[in-house]
Amino acid sequence: MKERLDEQTMALRVARELQEGWYVNLGFGIPALCTNFIPEGKTVFFFAENGLLGFGRNADSDEAELLGWRYVDAAARPVLPAPAMAVFDYAEAFDMIRGGHIDCTVLGGLQVSEKGDLANWRLPVYKGKGGTIGGAMDLAACCKRVFIVMTHTEKSGKPKIVRECTYPLTAKRCVNLIVTDIAVIRVTSHGLSLEETAPGWTAAEVQELTEVTLEVSPNLKTMAL
C-alpha cells in the first residue's frame, strides 16, 4: 500500500494557497489545522462564523480561564485575541459570508463532482433532514473561493471525486481547488485538472482512484512538502 499524506500535511499543502491579506474561513476538522501552517511574516485574517474576525492561535484551558472564556471559534474552541480582532453576532457574520466579503473558505468534503458541485453536510448514515448544515451552504455558495481538503477516497476505497454527487448537495458549481491525500486538483471551466501528485504517486495511480477522467496539467509536479 502506497503512503498517503496525513491530515497535518494536507493542511500544510492547502494553507500554502492562502494569500497575504485574505479573510479566510476554516471548516471543522482538517481545515482548522491550517492555522498551524501560516508562515511567520504572512498575514491571513481568520474568520469564524460565530462572530470573530482576525483571531490568534488556540488557547489552552489556563489561558482561556484567564480570559474568562471570552473568545471561542465556531467549533467552540477557545482562541486568543490578536491585534485588531473584531467580535460581532451571527447575523453580521453571515452578511460577511453571503455578501461575498470572505476571500476563501477551506472546507472538508464527502464528494466533489467534475463540475465542482460539493456534498459535505450529511453523512449517508443519517435519515431525512438530519445532519449538519451549519454554515456550509452559505460558505460554499458565497465565498470568493472554495478550497476542499479531504481524503481522495472513502475508507472503503470508493472515489470521492465523482461524475455526479450522490450525497445531498451543499452547493452547485462552487469548488475551485481540491487538495487530497494523494493529489492537488483544480476545477476549471472544462473539467478537473490534475496539478500535483503526492510523493511516490503517478498520475495514472491517482486517476485509478478517481471516477472522473482527469486532465493532466502540462505543468504536473510532485507536491513540494
Binding site: A48, E49, N50, G51, L52, S61, A64, L67, G68, W69, R70, Y71, V72, D73, A74, A75, A76, R77, P78, V87, F88, D89, Y90, A91, F94, I97, R98, D117, W121, L123, Y126, K127, G128, K129, G130, G131, T132, I133, G134, G135, A136, M137, D138, A141, C142, P168, L169, T170, A171, K172
Partner: protein, 242 residues
C-alpha cells in the same frame, strides 16, 4: 426611574411560557450567551410541546468537557429541553453532528419530534425578516439543495434566489453580560451569538445577565441590543453562575 424591567427570579421571569409556546434560545458555542438559569427554570416548570428555535439541535456537553469550560460537568444549554421531552418541534441551523450527544436524532427518527433544518444563513435571514417587519427575503443560499423544497425561486439580475418567510417566536431567552434596568444590553467576548437577532425577532425577550447596572451605567455607544427589544432582565446569582 419608574420603569424597571428587572425581575427578581428566573421562575418568575418564565412563568408565562405556556405549553405549545415557541421559544428562541441563544447560545451555540461555549458558555457565553447561554441563558443557563432561564433554561433550568423552564425545565423545572416542565412546559411541554415547545417549538424550540435555536442554533443547534444537540447538547455540547462533550465539547464543553473537551475544552474544560466552566460548568462542563453540569453543562446546561437548550438541549436539556429536548432531553427532557419538552420539545415538539426543532427549528435549527445544525441538527446533529457525529460524536455529540444526539437525543434529537433518536426522537426525530422515531417520529416524535418535527425538524426544520435550515443552515445558519437562511435561518438568520428568516429571523431578520420577522424582526424587521418584512414579508420575506430573497436569498441565494441552498440552490440545488434540500433547502429549495417548497420555496419560491426567482431569478434577479441573472442569479437564482429562494424566498425565505419571516420567523418570529413567542419568547426569546438570551444570555448577555450586563444590562441596565431598562433592558439595554452589552455582551462579553463571542457571547453575542444569536442574542441580538433573537431579541428583535421574538415578541417577549428575557435576558439573563451577569450584572445589572444603574441607568446611565452603560455608555450609549456601547449598547448592542437596545432595551426596546428586551421585556425582562434577570441577574444570575454568583453562586449559581459565576
Amino acid at each position: 426611574m419608574s420603569v424597571n424591567k428587572v425581575v427578581p427570579s428566573f421562575d418568575e421571569a418564565i412563568a408565562d411560557i405556556r405549553d405549545g409556546a415557541s421559544i428562541m434560545v441563544s447560545g451555540a458555542q461555549g458558555p457565553l450567551g447561554v441563558p443557563r438559569n432561564l433554561l433550568l427554570a423552564l425545565r423545572r416548570k416542565g412546559t411541554r410541546n415547545l417549538t424550540l428555535i435555536t442554533a443547534t439541535g444537540y447538547r455540547s456537553v462533550s465539547a464543553a468537557k473537551f475544552y474544560g469550560f466552566p460548568h462542563a460537568e453540569d453543562w446546561v444549554d437548550h438541549g436539556i429541553l429536548i432531553d427532557n421531552r419538552q420539545v415538539r418541534k426543532v427549528v435549527c441551523a445544525m441538527a446533529y453532528v457525529p460524536g455529540r450527544d444526539s437525543v434529537l436524532q433518536k426522537q426525530y427518527e422515531a417520529g416524535e419530534v418535527e425538524l426544520e433544518h435550515l443552515g445558519h444563513g437562511p435561518f438568520l435571514l428568516r429571523m431578520w425578516a420577522g424582526a424587521a417587519g418584512l414579508g420575506g427575503i430573497y436569498q441565494p443560499v441552498g440552490i440545488g439543495t434540500i433547502l429549495e423544497e417548497g420555496k419560491e425561486k426567482r431569478v434577479i439580475n441573472g442569479r437564482e434566489y429562494l424566498l425565505e418567510m419571516p420567523l418570529t417566536a413567542d419568547f426569546a431567552l438570551i444570555g448577555a453580560d450586563k444590562a441596565d434596568c431598562l433592558g439595554n444590553l452589552v455582551y462579553k467576548g463571542t457571547g453575542r451569538q444569536y442574542g441580538p437577532i433573537m431579541a428583535k425577532a421574538a415578541r417577549v425577550t428575557i435576558a439573563e445577565v451577569d450584572e445589572v447596572v444603574v441607568p446611565g451605567g452603560l455608555a450609549p455607544e456601547s449598547i448592542v441590543t437596545p432595551g426596546i427589544y428586551v421585556r425582562r432582565v434577570v441577574k444570575a446569582q454568583p453562586e449559581v453562575h459565576k
